[in-house]
Symmetry: C2
Subunit: 222 residues, 2 copies
Protein backbone atom coordinates (compact mmCIF):
# COMPACT_ATOMS: atom_id res chain seq x y z
CA UNK A 1 0.00 0.00 0.00
CA UNK A 2 1.87 3.07 -1.26
CA UNK A 3 1.38 6.34 0.61
CA UNK A 4 2.07 9.81 -0.78
CA UNK A 5 3.86 12.61 1.06
CA UNK A 6 3.09 16.00 -0.48
CA UNK A 7 5.80 18.52 0.28
CA UNK A 8 7.88 15.46 0.98
CA UNK A 9 11.22 17.19 0.45
CA UNK A 10 10.79 19.38 3.55
CA UNK A 11 12.27 18.23 6.88
CA UNK A 12 9.04 16.65 8.20
CA UNK A 13 8.34 14.95 4.86
CA UNK A 14 11.84 13.54 4.59
CA UNK A 15 11.72 12.23 8.13
CA UNK A 16 8.36 10.54 7.56
CA UNK A 17 9.52 9.07 4.23
CA UNK A 18 12.54 7.48 5.93
CA UNK A 19 10.50 6.10 8.83
CA UNK A 20 7.67 4.72 6.69
CA UNK A 21 9.99 3.17 4.08
CA UNK A 22 12.01 1.56 6.87
CA UNK A 23 8.74 0.15 8.26
CA UNK A 24 8.01 -1.40 4.85
CA UNK A 25 5.51 1.17 3.54
CA UNK A 26 6.31 2.32 -0.05
CA UNK A 27 6.46 6.12 -0.30
CA UNK A 28 5.68 8.40 -3.24
CA UNK A 29 7.62 11.52 -2.26
CA UNK A 30 6.00 14.57 -3.84
CA UNK A 31 7.42 18.01 -4.52
CA UNK A 32 6.56 20.92 -6.81
CA UNK A 33 9.98 20.11 -8.35
CA UNK A 34 9.97 16.50 -9.61
CA UNK A 35 13.74 16.47 -10.25
CA UNK A 36 14.47 17.56 -6.69
CA UNK A 37 11.99 14.98 -5.39
CA UNK A 38 13.71 12.22 -7.40
CA UNK A 39 17.16 13.22 -6.10
CA UNK A 40 16.03 13.41 -2.50
CA UNK A 41 14.14 10.13 -2.86
CA UNK A 42 17.34 8.38 -3.96
CA UNK A 43 19.40 9.98 -1.19
CA UNK A 44 16.86 9.01 1.48
CA UNK A 45 16.52 5.45 0.22
CA UNK A 46 20.32 5.09 0.32
CA UNK A 47 20.16 5.55 4.11
CA UNK A 48 18.04 2.40 4.45
CA UNK A 49 18.91 -1.24 3.97
CA UNK A 50 17.63 -3.59 1.28
CA UNK A 51 14.62 -4.74 3.32
CA UNK A 52 13.09 -1.25 3.32
CA UNK A 53 10.33 -0.23 0.90
CA UNK A 54 11.04 2.11 -2.06
CA UNK A 55 10.94 5.93 -1.87
CA UNK A 56 9.97 7.33 -5.28
CA UNK A 57 10.41 11.06 -5.77
CA UNK A 58 7.90 12.60 -8.21
CA UNK A 59 5.76 15.71 -8.76
CA UNK A 60 3.04 16.27 -6.13
CA UNK A 61 0.17 15.37 -8.48
CA UNK A 62 1.86 12.15 -9.51
CA UNK A 63 2.53 11.26 -5.88
CA UNK A 64 -1.19 11.60 -5.13
CA UNK A 65 -2.01 9.35 -8.09
CA UNK A 66 0.52 6.74 -6.92
CA UNK A 67 -1.03 6.59 -3.42
CA UNK A 68 -3.39 3.68 -2.86
CA UNK A 69 -5.39 5.63 -0.29
CA UNK A 70 -3.43 7.75 2.17
CA UNK A 71 -1.94 11.12 1.16
CA UNK A 72 0.09 13.00 3.77
CA UNK A 73 0.20 16.79 3.41
CA UNK A 74 3.52 18.14 4.76
CA UNK A 75 3.85 21.60 3.25
CA UNK A 76 4.45 24.81 5.24
CA UNK A 77 1.16 26.42 6.26
CA UNK A 78 1.73 29.28 3.79
CA UNK A 79 1.21 26.76 0.98
CA UNK A 80 -1.52 24.70 2.67
CA UNK A 81 -4.65 25.91 0.92
CA UNK A 82 -3.13 26.53 -2.53
CA UNK A 83 -1.59 23.06 -2.57
CA UNK A 84 -4.88 21.44 -1.60
CA UNK A 85 -6.87 23.43 -4.16
CA UNK A 86 -4.48 22.27 -6.89
CA UNK A 87 -4.55 18.63 -5.78
CA UNK A 88 -8.28 18.38 -5.04
CA UNK A 89 -9.22 16.80 -8.42
CA UNK A 90 -6.74 13.98 -7.78
CA UNK A 91 -7.80 13.36 -4.17
CA UNK A 92 -11.16 11.76 -4.86
CA UNK A 93 -11.35 8.32 -3.23
CA UNK A 94 -8.33 9.05 -1.01
CA UNK A 95 -7.86 10.21 2.59
CA UNK A 96 -5.88 13.38 3.25
CA UNK A 97 -3.63 13.21 6.33
CA UNK A 98 -2.97 16.80 7.34
CA UNK A 99 0.15 17.24 9.49
CA UNK A 100 0.45 21.01 8.95
CA UNK A 101 0.73 23.36 11.96
CA UNK A 102 -0.25 27.00 11.35
CA UNK A 103 2.72 28.51 13.19
CA UNK A 104 2.60 32.28 13.51
CA UNK A 105 4.72 34.15 10.97
CA UNK A 106 7.84 35.31 12.78
CA UNK A 107 7.01 33.55 16.07
CA UNK A 108 6.99 29.74 16.02
CA UNK A 109 6.19 29.74 19.74
CA UNK A 110 2.64 30.69 18.79
CA UNK A 111 -0.05 29.43 16.48
CA UNK A 112 -2.20 31.56 14.19
CA UNK A 113 -5.24 29.52 13.31
CA UNK A 114 -7.15 30.03 10.06
CA UNK A 115 -10.80 31.18 10.25
CA UNK A 116 -11.97 27.55 10.13
CA UNK A 117 -10.28 26.96 13.51
CA UNK A 118 -7.33 24.77 12.47
CA UNK A 119 -5.46 23.59 9.37
CA UNK A 120 -7.32 20.26 9.49
CA UNK A 121 -10.69 22.00 9.49
CA UNK A 122 -9.56 24.36 6.72
CA UNK A 123 -8.55 21.34 4.62
CA UNK A 124 -11.88 19.62 5.23
CA UNK A 125 -13.79 22.77 4.25
CA UNK A 126 -11.71 23.14 1.10
CA UNK A 127 -11.91 19.50 -0.01
CA UNK A 128 -15.61 19.06 0.82
CA UNK A 129 -17.29 16.22 2.70
CA UNK A 130 -16.45 13.44 0.24
CA UNK A 131 -12.68 13.51 0.87
CA UNK A 132 -12.01 12.66 4.52
CA UNK A 133 -9.34 14.74 6.23
CA UNK A 134 -7.47 13.36 9.24
CA UNK A 135 -5.13 15.45 11.38
CA UNK A 136 -2.10 13.58 12.74
CA UNK A 137 1.68 13.67 13.28
CA UNK A 138 1.76 17.37 14.23
CA UNK A 139 3.82 17.10 17.37
CA UNK A 140 6.72 14.82 16.43
CA UNK A 141 9.99 16.61 15.68
CA UNK A 142 11.46 16.38 12.16
CA UNK A 143 14.90 15.86 13.66
CA UNK A 144 13.63 12.94 15.69
CA UNK A 145 12.06 11.39 12.58
CA UNK A 146 15.25 11.84 10.56
CA UNK A 147 17.50 10.46 13.29
CA UNK A 148 16.71 6.82 12.70
CA UNK A 149 18.60 5.54 15.73
CA UNK A 150 16.28 7.53 18.04
CA UNK A 151 13.00 6.06 19.21
CA UNK A 152 10.12 8.44 18.60
CA UNK A 153 9.45 10.27 21.89
CA UNK A 154 5.92 11.28 21.04
CA UNK A 155 2.45 9.77 20.97
CA UNK A 156 0.32 10.65 17.94
CA UNK A 157 -3.07 12.28 18.51
CA UNK A 158 -5.32 11.57 15.53
CA UNK A 159 -8.50 13.54 14.76
CA UNK A 160 -10.99 13.96 11.95
CA UNK A 161 -14.70 13.77 11.23
CA UNK A 162 -14.59 10.25 9.73
CA UNK A 163 -13.99 7.51 12.29
CA UNK A 164 -13.08 4.87 9.65
CA UNK A 165 -10.52 7.28 8.15
CA UNK A 166 -9.09 8.02 11.60
CA UNK A 167 -8.70 4.29 12.23
CA UNK A 168 -6.81 3.79 8.95
CA UNK A 169 -4.44 6.62 9.81
CA UNK A 170 -3.93 5.26 13.32
CA UNK A 171 -3.00 1.88 11.83
CA UNK A 172 -0.55 3.55 9.43
CA UNK A 173 1.06 5.62 12.18
CA UNK A 174 1.45 2.58 14.41
CA UNK A 175 3.71 0.95 11.80
CA UNK A 176 6.29 3.48 13.04
CA UNK A 177 6.29 1.88 16.49
CA UNK A 178 4.46 4.77 18.13
CA UNK A 179 1.17 4.87 20.01
CA UNK A 180 -1.70 6.58 18.18
CA UNK A 181 -4.78 7.85 20.03
CA UNK A 182 -8.21 8.63 18.68
CA UNK A 183 -8.62 12.27 19.70
CA UNK A 184 -12.08 12.86 18.24
CA UNK A 185 -13.40 14.94 15.39
CA UNK A 186 -11.61 17.60 13.35
CA UNK A 187 -12.26 20.32 15.92
CA UNK A 188 -9.74 18.63 18.22
CA UNK A 189 -7.07 19.83 15.76
CA UNK A 190 -7.43 23.29 17.36
CA UNK A 191 -5.77 21.75 20.39
CA UNK A 192 -3.47 19.19 18.75
CA UNK A 193 -1.91 21.55 16.21
CA UNK A 194 -1.38 24.12 18.97
CA UNK A 195 0.63 21.70 21.10
CA UNK A 196 3.53 22.08 18.64
CA UNK A 197 4.32 25.76 19.41
CA UNK A 198 4.24 24.91 23.13
CA UNK A 199 6.86 22.21 22.48
CA UNK A 200 8.87 24.67 20.37
CA UNK A 201 8.74 27.17 23.26
CA UNK A 202 10.00 24.51 25.66
CA UNK A 203 12.76 23.50 23.21
CA UNK A 204 13.91 27.09 22.71
CA UNK A 205 13.76 27.98 26.41
CA UNK A 206 16.30 26.91 28.96
CA UNK A 207 13.57 25.10 30.91
CA UNK A 208 14.83 21.67 29.86
CA UNK A 209 18.29 20.26 29.04
CA UNK A 210 17.08 18.94 25.66
CA UNK A 211 15.38 19.94 22.42
CA UNK A 212 12.97 17.98 20.18
CA UNK A 213 10.51 17.46 23.04
CA UNK A 214 7.46 15.29 22.43
CA UNK A 215 4.26 14.61 24.40
CA UNK A 216 3.04 11.33 25.79
CA UNK A 217 -0.14 10.16 27.42
CA UNK A 218 0.66 8.84 30.90
CA UNK A 219 -1.05 6.16 32.92
CA UNK A 220 -1.54 6.87 36.63
CA UNK A 221 1.53 6.08 38.72
CA UNK A 222 0.42 3.55 41.32
CA UNK B 1 1.72 31.99 52.17
CA UNK B 2 -1.96 30.99 52.23
CA UNK B 3 -3.64 30.21 48.91
CA UNK B 4 -7.38 30.26 48.25
CA UNK B 5 -9.30 27.61 46.32
CA UNK B 6 -12.64 28.96 45.10
CA UNK B 7 -15.10 26.15 44.47
CA UNK B 8 -12.82 24.18 46.71
CA UNK B 9 -15.44 21.64 47.72
CA UNK B 10 -15.62 20.16 44.21
CA UNK B 11 -13.47 17.14 43.32
CA UNK B 12 -10.62 19.15 41.74
CA UNK B 13 -10.65 21.67 44.58
CA UNK B 14 -10.60 18.99 47.27
CA UNK B 15 -7.75 17.18 45.55
CA UNK B 16 -5.69 20.35 45.26
CA UNK B 17 -6.41 21.31 48.88
CA UNK B 18 -5.11 17.94 50.07
CA UNK B 19 -2.00 18.08 47.90
CA UNK B 20 -1.09 21.68 48.75
CA UNK B 21 -1.73 21.27 52.48
CA UNK B 22 0.39 18.12 52.49
CA UNK B 23 3.14 20.13 50.75
CA UNK B 24 3.00 22.71 53.56
CA UNK B 25 0.92 25.38 51.82
CA UNK B 26 -1.99 26.66 53.98
CA UNK B 27 -5.29 26.50 52.09
CA UNK B 28 -8.39 28.69 52.44
CA UNK B 29 -11.05 26.40 50.98
CA UNK B 30 -13.89 28.48 49.55
CA UNK B 31 -17.47 27.52 48.78
CA UNK B 32 -20.75 29.34 48.31
CA UNK B 33 -21.78 27.43 51.44
CA UNK B 34 -19.41 28.31 54.28
CA UNK B 35 -20.74 25.55 56.54
CA UNK B 36 -20.13 22.90 53.91
CA UNK B 37 -16.66 24.35 53.27
CA UNK B 38 -15.83 24.18 56.97
CA UNK B 39 -17.00 20.56 57.23
CA UNK B 40 -15.07 19.46 54.14
CA UNK B 41 -11.99 21.38 55.28
CA UNK B 42 -11.99 19.45 58.56
CA UNK B 43 -12.56 16.11 56.80
CA UNK B 44 -9.73 16.76 54.31
CA UNK B 45 -7.30 17.91 56.98
CA UNK B 46 -8.04 14.73 58.95
CA UNK B 47 -6.53 12.71 56.07
CA UNK B 48 -3.15 14.42 56.57
CA UNK B 49 -0.62 14.16 59.33
CA UNK B 50 0.39 16.81 61.85
CA UNK B 51 3.17 18.23 59.64
CA UNK B 52 0.70 19.34 56.96
CA UNK B 53 -0.55 22.92 56.69
CA UNK B 54 -4.11 23.88 57.73
CA UNK B 55 -7.16 23.69 55.43
CA UNK B 56 -9.70 26.30 56.48
CA UNK B 57 -13.16 26.06 54.93
CA UNK B 58 -14.90 29.43 54.53
CA UNK B 59 -17.15 31.35 52.12
CA UNK B 60 -15.59 32.11 48.72
CA UNK B 61 -15.18 35.86 49.44
CA UNK B 62 -13.49 35.17 52.73
CA UNK B 63 -11.17 32.64 51.10
CA UNK B 64 -10.04 35.30 48.61
CA UNK B 65 -9.40 37.72 51.45
CA UNK B 66 -7.38 35.10 53.35
CA UNK B 67 -5.12 34.44 50.31
CA UNK B 68 -1.77 36.22 50.43
CA UNK B 69 -1.58 36.37 46.64
CA UNK B 70 -2.70 33.26 44.75
CA UNK B 71 -6.39 32.45 44.27
CA UNK B 72 -7.26 29.22 42.44
CA UNK B 73 -10.61 29.14 40.62
CA UNK B 74 -11.98 25.58 40.56
CA UNK B 75 -15.69 25.99 39.82
CA UNK B 76 -17.55 24.24 36.98
CA UNK B 77 -17.45 26.33 33.79
CA UNK B 78 -21.18 27.09 34.14
CA UNK B 79 -20.31 29.21 37.19
CA UNK B 80 -17.02 30.63 35.89
CA UNK B 81 -18.01 34.15 34.87
CA UNK B 82 -20.61 34.76 37.58
CA UNK B 83 -18.18 33.67 40.31
CA UNK B 84 -15.45 35.94 38.96
CA UNK B 85 -17.80 38.91 38.62
CA UNK B 86 -18.84 38.49 42.27
CA UNK B 87 -15.25 38.12 43.51
CA UNK B 88 -13.65 40.81 41.35
CA UNK B 89 -13.73 43.54 44.04
CA UNK B 90 -11.75 41.26 46.39
CA UNK B 91 -9.18 40.16 43.79
CA UNK B 92 -7.25 43.40 43.52
CA UNK B 93 -3.56 42.82 44.24
CA UNK B 94 -3.95 39.04 43.80
CA UNK B 95 -3.31 36.60 40.97
CA UNK B 96 -6.15 34.44 39.69
CA UNK B 97 -5.14 30.87 38.81
CA UNK B 98 -7.82 29.59 36.45
CA UNK B 99 -8.01 25.78 36.26
CA UNK B 100 -11.47 25.66 34.66
CA UNK B 101 -12.04 23.64 31.46
CA UNK B 102 -15.09 24.63 29.38
CA UNK B 103 -16.27 21.07 28.73
CA UNK B 104 -19.20 20.84 26.35
CA UNK B 105 -22.59 20.40 28.05
CA UNK B 106 -23.54 16.75 27.68
CA UNK B 107 -20.25 15.68 26.04
CA UNK B 108 -17.12 15.91 28.21
CA UNK B 109 -15.07 14.50 25.30
CA UNK B 110 -15.32 17.93 23.70
CA UNK B 111 -14.67 21.49 24.66
CA UNK B 112 -16.94 24.46 23.98
CA UNK B 113 -14.83 27.56 24.23
CA UNK B 114 -16.29 30.94 25.21
CA UNK B 115 -16.14 33.81 22.68
CA UNK B 116 -12.85 35.01 24.22
CA UNK B 117 -11.19 31.75 23.09
CA UNK B 118 -10.71 29.99 26.42
CA UNK B 119 -11.75 30.21 30.08
CA UNK B 120 -8.41 31.84 30.95
CA UNK B 121 -8.92 34.55 28.35
CA UNK B 122 -12.54 35.05 29.45
CA UNK B 123 -11.32 35.51 33.04
CA UNK B 124 -8.68 38.02 31.99
CA UNK B 125 -11.23 39.99 29.95
CA UNK B 126 -13.66 40.01 32.88
CA UNK B 127 -11.12 40.97 35.56
CA UNK B 128 -9.31 43.59 33.48
CA UNK B 129 -5.58 44.06 32.96
CA UNK B 130 -4.71 44.88 36.59
CA UNK B 131 -5.52 41.40 37.95
CA UNK B 132 -3.22 38.84 36.28
CA UNK B 133 -4.87 35.58 35.25
CA UNK B 134 -2.78 32.42 34.90
CA UNK B 135 -4.13 29.19 33.42
CA UNK B 136 -2.77 26.00 35.01
CA UNK B 137 -3.64 22.56 36.43
CA UNK B 138 -6.26 21.82 33.77
CA UNK B 139 -5.09 18.35 32.80
CA UNK B 140 -4.47 16.59 36.09
CA UNK B 141 -7.23 14.22 37.19
CA UNK B 142 -9.16 14.96 40.39
CA UNK B 143 -8.97 11.29 41.33
CA UNK B 144 -5.20 11.36 40.97
CA UNK B 145 -5.00 14.45 43.18
CA UNK B 146 -7.24 12.91 45.85
CA UNK B 147 -5.41 9.58 45.86
CA UNK B 148 -2.46 10.74 47.92
CA UNK B 149 -0.45 7.54 47.49
CA UNK B 150 -0.31 8.09 43.69
CA UNK B 151 2.39 10.22 42.15
CA UNK B 152 0.91 12.86 39.83
CA UNK B 153 1.18 11.48 36.27
CA UNK B 154 0.92 14.85 34.57
CA UNK B 155 3.11 17.83 33.78
CA UNK B 156 1.51 21.23 34.30
CA UNK B 157 1.37 23.66 31.37
CA UNK B 158 1.15 27.23 32.69
CA UNK B 159 0.03 30.20 30.58
CA UNK B 160 -0.97 33.80 31.03
CA UNK B 161 -0.14 37.29 29.84
CA UNK B 162 2.02 38.20 32.86
CA UNK B 163 5.35 36.39 32.95
CA UNK B 164 6.01 37.23 36.66
CA UNK B 165 2.57 35.84 37.55
CA UNK B 166 3.23 32.70 35.49
CA UNK B 167 6.52 32.19 37.36
CA UNK B 168 4.82 32.48 40.74
CA UNK B 169 2.23 29.90 39.75
CA UNK B 170 4.92 27.58 38.37
CA UNK B 171 6.73 27.79 41.72
CA UNK B 172 3.51 27.02 43.60
CA UNK B 173 2.68 24.07 41.35
CA UNK B 174 6.15 22.64 41.74
CA UNK B 175 5.61 22.30 45.51
CA UNK B 176 3.39 19.34 44.51
CA UNK B 177 6.40 17.51 43.05
CA UNK B 178 5.31 17.97 39.45
CA UNK B 179 7.08 19.66 36.55
CA UNK B 180 5.56 22.97 35.44
CA UNK B 181 6.27 24.43 31.99
CA UNK B 182 5.92 28.01 30.81
CA UNK B 183 3.52 27.60 27.89
CA UNK B 184 3.30 31.25 26.88
CA UNK B 185 0.55 33.84 27.00
CA UNK B 186 -3.14 33.37 27.76
CA UNK B 187 -3.98 32.36 24.19
CA UNK B 188 -2.16 29.06 24.81
CA UNK B 189 -5.09 28.15 27.09
CA UNK B 190 -7.10 27.42 23.92
CA UNK B 191 -4.81 24.42 23.53
CA UNK B 192 -4.12 23.54 27.16
CA UNK B 193 -7.76 23.56 28.33
CA UNK B 194 -8.68 21.46 25.28
CA UNK B 195 -6.21 18.70 26.17
CA UNK B 196 -8.53 17.66 29.03
CA UNK B 197 -11.43 16.41 26.83
CA UNK B 198 -8.90 14.44 24.76
CA UNK B 199 -7.70 12.76 27.98
CA UNK B 200 -11.32 12.14 29.01
CA UNK B 201 -11.97 10.55 25.59
CA UNK B 202 -8.96 8.28 26.07
CA UNK B 203 -10.06 7.41 29.63
CA UNK B 204 -13.61 6.56 28.51
CA UNK B 205 -12.52 4.57 25.46
CA UNK B 206 -11.11 1.09 25.57
CA UNK B 207 -7.89 2.35 23.93
CA UNK B 208 -5.91 2.06 27.13
CA UNK B 209 -6.10 -0.28 30.15
CA UNK B 210 -6.31 2.66 32.57
CA UNK B 211 -8.23 5.82 33.39
CA UNK B 212 -7.03 9.15 34.83
CA UNK B 213 -4.51 9.63 32.00
CA UNK B 214 -2.15 12.61 32.15
CA UNK B 215 0.25 14.19 29.66
CA UNK B 216 3.99 14.58 29.97
CA UNK B 217 6.64 16.37 27.97
CA UNK B 218 9.17 13.82 26.74
CA UNK B 219 12.87 14.23 26.05
CA UNK B 220 14.22 12.52 22.90
CA UNK B 221 15.01 8.86 23.42
CA UNK B 222 18.69 8.42 22.55
Amino acid sequence: MTIAIIGGTGPQGQGLALRFARAGVPVALGSRDATRAAEIGVALRAQLDAAAAPITGVANEEAVMMADELVILAVPFAGHNATLAALKPHLEGKILVDIVVPLKEGDPKKVEMPPEGSATEAAQALLGPDIPVVGALHNVSATTLKTLEWDINCDILVCGNSLPARKKVMALVETLGVVAYNAGDAEAARCIEAITPILIRINISKQVPFTHAGVKIQAPAH
